[in-house]
């Protein structure tokens, strides 16, 4: 006599991926990269934003090739061509698509190089903060006890102060310079990563397989890197994206205030600062265009970051 078997999902009322927990990468069927790609493509907003990011990164990388003029080459700049509005024709017949600044530099070129600087500083700071924060977060989670308490108290302390203020104070006390700016940003941002990584790592440490691995005598290092780290990736990716945007914006603000990057490496922030001085005279293009570019960059990264958060942390809406 035949009879039907209950469906394999009998007993489980929820669909399998409803939980917010992340299983070990090997245990999950689809890869995280796949899920990310699918998730982004599913949202038209995020797809456009991702495209913009790729485009801007490409523009930044290709600045030396794409820019009509090298803004650092003093021989190429003509002071007679200064303060020209967009689409004007210059002294030697070249067309300045976005106008020129007070020194006669082509805005488009200056913006491309500025984009390059902003992006490289932001990415460097973000990645360094990620590395430092991840390392400290893992140490805190693994060591536990007093080390954990010490690290987490420091994290709480850092997070109690706004990025700008701390960076400002550091730069005031220790002076300026590109690497000082990057380090100041890292000094503040590592805390976000440390907290997230520690949280994710603690969840993993509580699982049986870690205990088993320890019993087998696997070295701490191996456990940390092969097992814990992959499971901390989702929050890291989300926070990393958003922190890069935050770093870019912070650097721009610091440069605008005059305590950021030196003028030999102008970022978009500095360009906007220069534009500020002539804004009231009606020479809008020197501030509007670099600002729009900066806005586009930060906005696109944030939109992608927001979407990544929806994909990778379904339970955490914050």
């Amino acid at each position: 006599m035949t009879h039907q078997e209950p469906a394999p999902t009998g007993g489980a009322v929820l669909p399998p991926d409803a939980g917010g927990e992340v299983g070990t990468s090997a245990a999950r069927g689809d890869s995280m990269a796949g899920r990310i790609a699918a998730g982004i493509l599913a949202s038209p907003k995020a797809s456009i934003a991702a495209l913009v990011c790729v485009f801007l990164i490409g523009a930044a990388l290709g600045a030396p090739v794409l820019a009509p003029q090298d803004p650092y080459d003093l021989t190429a700049i003509d002071i007679f061509d200064s303060r020209l509005p967009p689409m004007s024709v210059g002294y030697e017949g070249q067309r300045y698509v976005l106008g020129t600044d007070t020194q006669g530099r082509d805005m488009l070129s200056a913006m491309l190089y500025g984009l390059r600087t902003s992006l490289s500083v932001g990415l460097t700071a973000g990645l360094l903060a990620l590395a430092v924060g991840t390392a400290l977060g893992l140490v805190a989670a693994w060591a536990g006890g007093r080390i954990d308490a010490l690290i987490m108290r420091t994290v709480d302390l850092m997070l109690g102060f706004p990025t700008i203020l701390v960076a400002l104070m550091i730069l005031v006390v220790f002076g300026q310079g590109t690497w000082k700016v990057i380090l100041a940003l890292v000094f503040v941002q590592w805390a976000y990563f440390a907290r997230a990584v520690r949280g994710a790592a603690l969840v993993e440490i509580g699982k049986d397989y870690v205990e088993a691995a320890r019993c087998l005598g696997l070295s701490s290092g191996r456990i940390l890197f092969a097992h814990l780290l992959p499971n901390c990736l989702p929050p890291l990716i989300v926070i990393g994206t958003i922190q890069v945007a935050s770093a870019i914006a912070a650097e721009a603000t610091l440069s605008f205030l005059g305590i950021g990057l030196p003028i030999t490496e102008p970022s978009l922030g500095l360009l906007i600062a220069n534009g500020y001085q002539v804004l009231l005279a009606g020479l809008y293009w020197m501030s509007v265009y670099p600002g729009l570019l900066l806005l586009a960059l930060v906005f696109a990264i944030n939109v992608v970051g927001d979407r990544l958060r929806e994909i990778l942390n379904p339970r955490l809406v914050r």
Partner: protein, 324 residues
């Protein structure tokens, strides 16, 4: 013959799932006469709570009632306007939920929540509403009701909170109370107190009551009629004495046997082998088949409702003998 207070017929409530819609309630029908108490009994996942919510139109989206009829005092509730439903809820049909810690807003005082319930349906001043709330608390046996009105839910014990919920349910002298496992979260002594209170209040006010529970023993002392649910369907429906003395459905028999009795010390507890199917994995034919000793070829078909003497009903191809 008077129209029944509540008449549910062919109720089907679905939840969209990954592989098609899941029927939490699969064709449920029952009647409740004025002033009677119905015990709706079933295991977790049988759909009993969803049935209660479906009557009041409180099924959590994206679930919804897709078929059937719910007639309250002759008026069709399914498809009624939200405004109409809202005017009935808490007013003529009240609900008591399982865990009052979760159901009372933790940041508002009990008094606020009771007063707003009064004012939602009648134009009374806050002061008058407060008096009513105080009296209601007194009626359910809460000491110093005036002070308790200004207390927060977490300041009450579990039993007291449930009394508050019952008091709130009685504020507008409803015709029907639907109680969804109201004593499950309480300990046994409190449970019997609450049961006694509820029985008394319903007798005094002539309120109809649907008591939803997984515990047949609890319901047995309280209800006039019992409906047994399994896998989204009512498999047996009859007066309480008939069900307990002469169950027709094998599942009912299993439930009765599973109640530990004082006279059976030392004997192993009866179990119904297997476990209840989840709503996502319903079988073809009789849902109880894998666990039934009496199952046969016929059971591959879905059993229809058999109408027995004195309004008894059951769904089974091989019912227990009358007198078994």
């Amino acid at each position: 013959m008077m129209t029944p207070l509540l008449s549910v017929s062919g109720l089907v409530t679905e939840f969209p799932g990954r592989d098609g819609a899941v029927r939490a309630v699969d064709g449920v029908s029952f009647d409740l006469a004025r002033g009677r108490i119905l015990g709706l009994v079933g295991e977790s996942g049988s759909g009993k709570s969803v049935t209660g919510f479906s009557v009041l139109g409180l099924v959590d989206a994206p679930g919804r009632v897709v078929a059937g009829s719910v007639r309250f005092d002759g008026e069709e509730l399914l498809g009624a306007s939200p405004r109409r439903l809202r005017s009935l809820r808490g007013n003529r049909i009240a609900m008591v939920f399982q865990d009052p810690m979760m159901t009372l807003n933790p940041v508002l005082t009990v008094g606020t929540q009771m007063v707003e319930t009064v004012c939602a349906h009648r134009r009374v001043s806050r002061r008058a509403a407060r008096v009513e709330a105080r009296d209601a608390l007194g009626k359910v046996g809460i000491p110093s009701p005036e002070e308790r009105l200004d207390a927060y839910p977490h300041e009450f014990s579990g039993g007291m909170r449930q009394r508050v919920a019952i008091a709130t349910a009685l504020l507008h002298a409803p015709d029907l109370i639907i109680a969804d496992e109201p004593t499950t979260a309480l300990d046994v002594t409190i449970q019997s107190q609450i049961l006694g209170e509820v029985q008394r209040l319903c007798a005094e006010t002539g309120t109809g009551l649907i008591w939803i529970s997984h515990d047949l023993g609890v319901v047995a002392g309280l209800a006039d009629d019992i409906a047994v649910m399994y896998a989204g369907r009512i498999v047996e429906r009859a007066g309480v004495d008939d069900v307990l003395d002469v169950p027709r459905h094998p599942y009912t028999r299993g439930l009765i046997n599973a109640i530990p009795g004082a006279g059976e010390r030392g004997r192993p507890l009866h179990q119904i082998r297997g476990s209840a199917p989840s709503p996502t994995s319903r079988l073809v034919g009789c849902a109880f088949r894998p666990r039934c000793d009496r199952a046969g070829e016929a059971c591959l078909e879905e059993p229809g409702e058999v109408l027995g003497p004195e309004g008894r009903r059951w769904r089974c191809f091989h019912p227990l003998e009358a007198g078994a």
